[in-house]
């Protein structure tokens, strides 16, 4: 696996986007490749990335997605840490007097040596927040030290909260009145026509009369009047430029940057002295869900400290992994060449693999049909065939999310020679990894395209010809279809319990490199 560099082998996801295998997922129920774009992301749990505490979603919502204990530095956005200092406590007068009396009783030396071995030093632990990255502390901006490390740090208040509340109330009442007016208008415009004449209509016993007899109040709600609000007054005297701006040198250290301002969206202070520690934003764990069948593809473990998954359907655990090894000759346009690729079977079952240059016809028809079907609005999906009906049911359950699929971008500029026969790739067996002996398969005649084979890995030689029209330093892209048998252990239907074997197709693109000079 190539590390820290672009991966030359890309798989076409079922949605049409190319991705390396480590970014793909495999839905066992569909069974298809999925990528981050075509799955549904969901929020699994909230946690603080600093204290790694799990925070329930209702609490997170209440706390505005901020951690209650952790703060970010307003200066450099690093995490602040609480530091403890010991402060001498100023004693209350009577306490001090007591001490004085004690020291007076002790002897004259009390005034010269205030700390006697018997007296406990009157100190208290106080905390302040400090940034270990830029050395900013809460003392810089005059926030008093706190007696407890967490929980008591003041939040700066919203200055216009009251005004905002009255505005909110005002608009809510305005809209409510508009709504009532409209309902009233509609009621008058089209009087209710009942299919059957009501009994009360004949007897003259109207609803309002009955209500009054029972002693209920009138059904019609009292019309709400919008609350009056005093609009903001425009003023003619506006803020003038401070005159010393033309003479005083500007100290950039005192002026905040845009990132510092925006980290405090409400105040956006321009002076460094007004920066306040900001509560740290929470992070989330995501789970991924297939849009087609609504099964989970990825579900992380709940606890924030765990990096494991409860459900993990990464493509690299199910789809044979193709790694490019080398090209046999320098790449030249129009010249026959061969590429060596390594294919690994990650599953616990033997796979039969074929390399094709195009999809077999019926399969192609199926995919285009599916593409068309996906593009159509799936309202009349339910048809007579039971299989399709089952599909229809899943479609209705899945309520929309009909992401429009796109055709795979045709990048290939080479002619590839499909392999003449299929071959079997044996299952993954971790114990075989360490076997040194020659494998048992050697007596069987190997097809000649196989270069090397060990366990679940095989090296293949694929012949291809770059297009004659491609120029020097053009990127050579190979494209082929890989058909592989996949043993699906998930029972799609209730009748069948035993694993089924399916032949699946993946389209792959390999960036072999650039055309070299003659």
């Amino acid at each position: 696996m190539s590390f820290m560099q672009p991966i030359p082998v890309k798989y076409a996801c079922s949605c049409g986007i190319l991705n390396p295998i480590n970014k793909l997922f495999f839905c066992r129920h569909c069974p298809k490749l999925r990528c981050g774009y075509c799955v549904c992301h969901e929020i699994e749990s909230h946690f603080c990335s600093n204290c790694l505490e799990n925070i329930p979603s209702s609490e997170a919502r209440h706390k505005k997605n901020c951690c209650a204990n952790c703060f970010d530095c307003p200066c450099c956005q690093h995490t602040l840490s609480a530091r403890a200092t010991t402060v001498a406590v100023v004693r209350k007068p009577d306490e001090a007097k007591d001490k004085e009396a004690q020291s007076g009783a002790g002897g004259e030396s009390g005034s010269t040596t205030p700390l006697k071995p018997s007296s406990v030093p009157a100190t208290k632990k106080m905390y302040y927040l400090s940034c270990l990255s830029c050395r900013w502390t809460t003392r810089d901006v005059g926030i008093p030290d706190q007696g407890v490390a967490t929980g008591t740090w003041p939040d700066n208040e919203c200055l216009y909260q009251l005004r905002f509340n009255s505005l909110l109330e005002y608009y809510q009442s305005v809209v409510l009145q508009e709504k009532q007016d409209r309902q009233e208008f509609l009621r008058r415009k089209s009087p209710k026509q009942h299919k059957f004449p009501s009994l009360t209509d004949r007897t003259g016993l109207t609803v309002s009369l009955i209500r009054r007899q029972i002693g209920w109040n009138e059904k019609t709600l009292p019309k709400s009047k919008p609350i009056s609000i005093s609009p903001t007054e425009a003023t003619a005297d506006v803020e003038q430029l401070p005159p010393d701006i033309f003479t005083e040198p500007l100290n950039l250290r005192q002026v905040t940057t845009i990132a510092q301002r925006l980290s405090q969206p409400r105040d956006q202070p321009t002076a460094v002295g007004n920066l306040y520690p900001q509560r740290r934003s929470l992070w989330i764990k995501r789970s991924l869900r297939c849009r087609q069948c609504e099964h989970n593809l990825i579900k992380p473990e709940f606890h924030p400290t765990s990096i494991k998954y409860r459900i993990q359907l990464f493509a690299s655990h199910h789809v044979p992994e193709v790694v490019m090894v080398r090209c046999e000759q320098p790449l030249k346009s129009g010249q026959k060449n061969a590429i060596v690729v390594k294919i690994t079977n990650p599953t616990m079952y033997d796979m039969t693999i074929r390399i094709l240059d195009a999809l077999p016809e019926e399969e192609e028809q199926l995919t285009t049909e599916m593409l068309q079907q996906a593009c159509k609005i799936k309202e009349e999906a339910v048809t007579s065939s039971p299989l399709l009906r089952a599909a229809g049911i899943t479609l209705t359950r899945q309520n929309s999310t009909r992401e429009i699929k796109r055709e795979v971008n045709e990048l290939s500029n080479t002619l590839i020679e499909p392999l003449e026969s299929e071959f079997v790739l044996s299952q993954r067996d971790d114990s075989k990894e360490f076997d040194e002996d020659i494998q048992a398969r050697s007596e069987i005649e190997e097809p000649k395209f196989i270069v090397w084979r060990k366990g679940n890995k095989v090296l293949l030689r694929l012949q291809f010809t770059p297009e004659a029209t491609s120029k020097i330093s053009d990127e050579v892209v190979l494209s082929f279809y890989m058909q592989y048998t996949y043993v699906n252990t998930v029972a799609n239907t209730t009748e069948k319990k035993e694993p089924t074997t399916q032949a699946l197709y993946s389209r792959l693109f390999i960036q072999a490199g650039a055309i070299e000079k003659e």
């Binding site: 608009y171 809209v175 903001t232 956006q268 009909r402």
Partner: protein, 383 residues
Amino acid sequence: MPLYETVMQEKPPIVLDIGHAYTKLGFAAETCPRKIIPTKLVLTTTGQSKRLFDYERNEELHDQMVDFLQMIFFKHLLVSPKERKFVILENVFGQTVIRETLARVLFVHFDVSSVLFVPSHLMALSTLAAPTAVVVDIGYNETSIMPIFSGVQIMTAFKDQSYGGRAIHEEIKRQLLREGIIEGDDVALLTEIVLEDIKIRTCFVTTFERAQARLNTDGEQPTPPPSVDYAICDSNKVIQIPGLLRETVYELMFEETRERDSLPHLILRSILDCTMDVRRALVEGIFLIGGGSMVMGLVARLKQELQHLLQHDEIYKDRFHGALEFKFFPSICKQNYSLWLGGSLCGATDLIQMRSLAKEAYLKNEHVPDWSNLCDNNRHAGS
């Protein structure tokens, strides 16, 4: 109804104001946006950082929008967009393709339940509870002016010009190059981020008197403010930003041209495009919003310029009568999120149920109703 309201309270609508430079995001009925983030995204395919509205093909915009919104939902707001209600602040004269793409991404990709598109100038005014004002939005890409009378936007009097944050950045760069402070390969150091930092930390709008004195090239020039030594971030270079630059970069908003399209001219022309009865009310209520209006000294300068034009310019002298004094509305919050705050107020009312574009309605014909489209806006067609 009460049950429904509790459901509503549990899931407040998401309010988004996607600007060209910064995106303001948060929840309805809150007093400030949760985050203000640059409208940039990291492409999942190549890993490079890019502005959202830099695109060539529409599919590119679609993919970028998906990536960008994905980041907003899962990195900043931390809510699932599924079955949510949305309030989107939009420019009345914004591009149709952006609005259609946004709707498609929200409804089809993210499966949201409803989207309420609200006109941004009107929403900004709602934070004042005042019915009449000239709303001047100084953004990154452009400055736009919309007079509003009694809560109705006077569309015919809408004006916009291309000077905004971007133009100021270019002016700073031009002046630095002209003065020879930055030479040769160092131009690459002047990224948008650096220019923006220089702008907001050192520059201001000078006073009317000093600007007039500067225009008079023969007379005595006022002494420029002190220069500033500025260390460029992520490099060892320290440049000296001349005082003249600090004082004069914003002059491009006030430059007198034949086109009469400087900011004060634009405001006056916009007011003149309204009927005579409403002009006085508009003159006495100018509301500056947008990140560009937060610069020091802008309001004072604008007021003096407007008063000066009213008294000395031939055209305006003939058309404005009586003693007029320009008045400015103080914003209740920082101006760069006034729009968002209006959206937050709007999203907290029942309008979100009455006027929203629901998913079912959208999916029926995959189209967002638009006032400029006669298929939707057929009130005058007599139907």
